[in-house]
Each structure stands twice: as C-alpha cells, then as structure tokens.
Amino acid sequence: MAIVTLDNVKKNYMLGTTQVPAVRGVSFEIEKGDFISIAGPSGSGKSTILNMIGCMDTPSEGTVIVNGKDISQLNDYQTTMLRHETIGFIFQSFNLIPVLNVYENIEFPLLLGKAGTKSSEIKKQNKEWIEYLIAEVGLERWIHHKSNELSGGQRQRVAIARALVTKPTIVLADEPTANLDSKTGEEVIELMKKINHEMDTTFIFSTHDATVVGIADHVIRLKDGLITENIRKGA
C-alpha cells in the first residue's frame, strides 16, 4: 500500500487578486521504503507538493493521503500529531534550534511528545538511540557543540539525525543540498540513502541538482506544476 497518495492535486496561491496555479493536477503514489526525488526547475511546484505531503498546507483541489489520512480533513492539532509521529523533516537552511547543542537538537522532537512522562528504561533506550544516530551521521566529536560552531554539512547531518529520532515512516527534505557545496551535498544524499537501506525509511526530497537526482531510485519530474516524468529505477 502506498504511504503517500496524491490524486489530481491542484494548488492555487493568491497573489493579490490574481490566482497563481502552483500545482495544476498532479497524481502519484509513493511506496514505503522509496528513495524518491522530486525534480524540476525553479517554480515548478516542488516545495508546494512537499509542503502538502508534510501536512503543512492543503490542496485547493484533489486529495493528499499521508499514512492513510486525508490531510484536508485534519485540524491543526491532528496534523501536528501526524507530523510528529509519521514525518521527519530536513530543511534547506538546516533549522537547528540555536540554543541547543547537537545532542539536544537531535533529542528535541522526542521531548515534544509525552517523553517527559516516560520511564527511566525508555529514557535510557532513547539516549542509546540518539548516540547511535550521532555515530551514524559521524558527529561523535561534536556532540556538545551548538549549531553556530558547525559547518553546513555538519548541520545538515544533525538535521538528518533529528529527522530520524522519532523513527518516522517518511522523511521529507526540501532541497537538502542547496546550501551545501556539491561534494558535501552528495555525501549528505549518500548518507540518506544508507539510512534508507538500513532502516527502510521512506525519503522524499526535492532538488534541481542532476547528480543528486541520479542517486534516487524513483524520480518525479515537474514542470509548471505538472508531472513530466515518473520513473522508478530497476522497475
């Protein structure tokens, strides 16, 4: 069963009095465990689609189903919970919490839930899990550093670990490499791919970078708010 389904999704933005069609009728499915790239030129509607899959925006027309739930039917609290339980986020500008260090940033999403009431056994497990993720992204030496003491690539690694800490089914990444040099960008995508293999987490990321697109197993190409290509490698 698809983890994400878009059915004839349209999204219009109002710019003053004129309607801007950002997405003009898009349908596709994403399977659990996919490593999928949404590619296309600037303004083609990549972010608009990711925002809807991330339950941060709703379609003007059509339906977006995430983990079996029609996101248009949910209220603010329900979408917040859906995000918290099902989706991990990796942002273009990393978006680490400035006052928290590497460990605390990764731990943070766990504390947004009911972590405060959890037993010491679970706390211990969480600590081991966070430390495992820190090792996984190779930041053992930086564990007590704040984000302003890290390079862009390191920050994005922290963000990847943070996105994974709640063991989400889906990780969303809108242009995760745009603020990185191409070598670091490729390393970050390779890291995501490794985790995708190891943990069977679904990764959905957007990019304009052709080399980054090459690493994806499943590519959806957009142009002017419409799909021009939807290919699954090895399928």
């Binding site: 941060m56 917040t80 995000r83 978006n95 919490i97 400035p98 006052v99 839930g113």
Partner: protein
C-alpha cells in the same frame, strides 16, 4: 517541562539586552510598588491611629440630614449656619443607651461644635473652632490626646474653656499681659439662625494637643452647654429657628456686613454688630428662652470600637438599630469625620495608585513591544518547532515561560532590594522636615513598615503585567504556521 526551561533560560541568556530591558522594567516596577505601597500604607495607618486615638474615634454618628460629617467642617459650617442649620443628633438618649449596652463599644463622646471669635475685654482676634464636650466621656475616650500645661480638665457640669497655646498667645498678645486661670474670656459666635451671641467663659486650663494636624491648631475645648448656648441648640432641634420675620430682617442685615470683607475688617465689625444686635433684639425673655439648652443636644457622637472588633460590623449594627427604631441618624467610618488633612493622605494614596496603574500600563506596553520583536526574530525557529510536531500549546508555554522566568527573577530581585530599603529606613527612620508632611505622617520621624500583603500585591501586579504583556506576543507566536520552517531567507 525541563526542555522548555532549558530553552527559556538559554534564550534569555542569548538575548541578554532584551532580557535586561524587560527585567529592569519589572524590577524597577516592583521596587516602586513595594516602596511606595509601604510608605503610603504606613502613612495611612499612622494617620488612622493618630486620628482615631486622638480626635475622631472609629465612627461618627450624626443626623441623617447632616451634609458634612467632618468634625472640623461641622464647626466651619457653623459659620454658614443661618443658611442651613446643623441638625442635632436625633434621639440621643436612645443612642446613648444603645451604645452603653454594646459589648464591642469601648467608649463614645457626644460633641457639639461651632466656631467663634475669642476676645478678652473687647480685645482679641483669635478665630477658634470649638469642640463642646461632655468632659467625662471625652476624657474617657481620649485619655491621652493632650498635654495640660496649666489648670485642670473641665469637670462634669462645669462651664469653662480649655485654651490651646495659639488661642492663649493671641489673646495675651492683644491684652499685653498673661491670662490667668479663672479669668473670663468672651466668645462671639452666630446661632444656627444667624443671630449674634456673645458668651463669657471661664478659663479652666491651657493645653496643647499631642498630635497636631493643621486643623487642630484652631481648636479649643469648651463645655458642651457653652456651644449649645452659642449655636442656639435649644430644647428640641426646631426651637432655635423660632424667630419672627422681624428678627430675620436684622439678621440678614448683620450677616451682609459680617462676612463680606477681609479678616481684619471682619473681626472689628463682628464686635460692633454684636453690640448692635444685642441692643436691637432687646427682648430679654426670648433670649433667655433661646439659651435654655437641651441637655441631649449634640451635633455628633464619636464612637470608639473595641480593639479587635470589626468597625464595619459596628456600623452595620448601628444602622440596623437606627432603622429599627426610626432614628434619623447615620453612622460613618472615622475618615469621614476626620477632615481634610486625613483625607489628603488617602487622596495621595489614590493618586499613587493611579500613578502605579499608569506605570504598569506603560511597562506592559514596553515589555509587549520587546517580546513582539523577540518573537518576530524567532519566526523560523518557532515554525521549525511547529513542523517537528510542537503543538500550539507548546509554543505558548515556551514564550510564556520565558516571560515568567524574567518576571519572577526581576520580581524577586525587586522585592529583595525594596524590602531591604523599607526595613532599613523603618529601623533608622526617615526625618521629616516639611511641616505639611509632618502633619500628614503624624511625626517628625517616619518609620515605614513592610507588610506581607504589600509584597504579595506587588507580585500579583508583576504577574498581571507579565500576562498582559505576553498575551499578544504569544498570540503572534502561536499563529506562526509550520510552513515558515520551509522558507529560506
């Protein structure tokens, strides 16, 4: 909660300047609140003790028809008495009986008041307020409010006057010699209907009030019958106005010449017209009738409520007693009887409270602004937290907690500083040199006292300012959509 506290503390440290601005405003606010309230509270409590122990008692009873309840203004109103006579306390015997039977009453002093012009053998210029007292009751109720410099307090049933230092000095200056005990002085006054009266009274003693508020400088104490005679408080409250039309004609004539001019001229004219009036009235039998006074006639009754008993309850009981018995009297707390100086302190208190409110509003606006700026600088961070699954309530608690941490820290610091200041000045004392302030604070050295409820009220106020100023920024923060996390600057 720990993660929220961690974020709150670190954010406050991160944005030191902002935290400092808000913290300083709150701290200074706290200091003003605690210091100001302590001073005002000590002053009002001081003035209350001074007045209730020395002049006003805890409650004052007058006739319902009485416009003014102040001890001092009753005497002053006597000057305008012809326009609207001061009514006697109705059914005094019943009230007296009631007061004597009450457990919670420590004492009472029925009094009559008027004003007059003191003179000796046609020489003199001291305007006086006269407290006409029942000596036994007055001395029992205010056992310690004056220093007798010479002579003795009035004896029951004895006619006479106790002269305060100012009255004595002014008379002696005009006489050119010291006044002796037992000498007669003259008081010229007008009755409730405007007739001029002159009475001889015997000087029984010289005194000084222990606590001098401005108004008391002019007060001399006489036996109540002298006031009754001067004011024309004759048998029954109405007898005093039983004048013929012919009489009032002269009265009106006299009055115009009496009060239209400067003080200097006034005094001379009073004496002249007083003499004229005596001649004009002529009819001695009517005069005698008018001066035969009613032993139950008083303008007001001061009541002392027992220490520890509720004054409000005493007022309610008295009001019930009045209405049950159809007595047209009213009762009020001491402040109404205490006069302008005491009210001034309470007015200052009100003004202070208004100033505090204004400061609080300004502080709240400044803090609100600072918090709004702080929130708008953290839009991506707040959006990220929302995207990661932070609920609106989490955001609310995050911003609220930051404000709370500052408010509590600043409040605690403010309390420590101001409490120390109050305690130190309370043990050392603040010397008061200004005469007017002295009258207000009731002494040359002012000892402010710290009260727990002042501190609690100040904390309440700070909390109120905090909540008020955080409400709008919190609303802004909560409204930040998670999608802002996806935007890139």
């Amino acid at each position: 909660m720990p993660v929220l506290l961690k974020i709150a503390f670190r954010n406050l440290l991160q944005h030191k300047a902002k935290s400092l601005i808000i913290g300083l405003i709150l701290m200074v606010g706290m200091i003003i609140l605690v210091l100001g309230n302590s001073l005002v509270k000590t002053a009002t409590e001081g003035i209350k003790t001074t007045y209730t122990d020395n002049f006003s008692g805890d409650l004052i009873i007058t006739a319902s028809a009485n416009r003014s309840l102040s001890l001092f203004s009753i005497s002053q109103e006597a000057m305008n008495g012809f326009a609207e006579p001061i009514p006697n306390v109705p059914d005094f015997q019943k009230i007296e009986e009631y007061l004597l039977g009450q457990e919670n009453m420590a004492g009472f002093s029925p009094q009559a008041a008027t004003y007059g012009l003191l003179s000796k053998d046609g020489l003199g210029r001291a305007i006086t307020l006269l407290f006409g007292v029942d000596p036994t009751r007055y001395a029992a109720m205010f056992p310690d409010n004056l220093n007798l410099l010479d002579g003795a307090f009035l004896q029951p049933g004895e006619e006479g006057i106790l002269l305060n230092e100012r009255g004595r000095a002014s008379l002696e200056k005009n006489l050119g010699r010291p006044l002796a005990l037992g000498e007669q002085v003259q008081i010229t006054s007008t009755t409730s209907t405007g007739a001029i009266k002159v009475r001889d009274v015997t000087v029984r003693g010289f005194f000084a009030f222990k606590e001098v508020t401005g108004e008391l400088n002019a007060v001399n104490i006489v036996d109540v019958d002298t006031v009754r005679g001067l004011y024309g408080m004759t048998v029954g409250a109405d007898a005093g106005v039983a004048l013929t039309e012919e009489d009032t004609k002269y009265i009106e004539f006299d009055i115009d010449s009496l009060f239209g001019s400067t003080a200097e001229a006034e005094e001379i004219e009073i004496q002249e017209s007083a003499a004229d009036y005596d001649n004009l009235l002529g009819d001695l039998s009517q005069r005698e009738q008018l001066s035969k006074t009613d032993s139950g006639a008083y303008h007001y009754v001061l009541v002392d409520v027992k220490e520890g008993s509720s004054e409000a309850a005493a007022i309610r009981e008295l009001e019930r007693f009045f209405s049950d018995n159809g007595i047209e009297a009213r009762v009020a707390p001491w402040l109404e009887g205490a006069g302008a100086n005491a009210k001034m302190v309470y007015n200052i208190k009100t003004i202070f409270e208004i100033v505090i409110l204004a400061i609080a509003i300004v502080a709240a606006i400044i803090i609100m602004n600072t918090l709004v700026i702080s929130v708008s600088e953290r839009i991506p961070e707040i959006g990220t937290i929302r995207a990661l699954g932070g609920t609106k309530s989490f955001i609310m608690r995050m911003i609220g907690l930051e404000t709370l941490v500052i408010a509590l820290t600043a409040g605690a610091l403010g309390v420590i500083i101001s409490a120390a200041a109050v305690l130190i000045s309370g043990s050392v004392g603040i010397p008061i040199t200004n005469e007017y302030l002295k009258a207000l604070t009731g002494g040359a050295i002012f000892y402010p006292a710290l009260h727990l409820d002042t501190i609690l009220a100040a904390f309440g106020m700070i909390a109120g300012i905090g909540i008020l100023s955080a409400a709008y920024p919190v609303a802004i923060a909560v409204a930040i959509p998670p999608v802002t996390a996806m935007r890139n600057e």
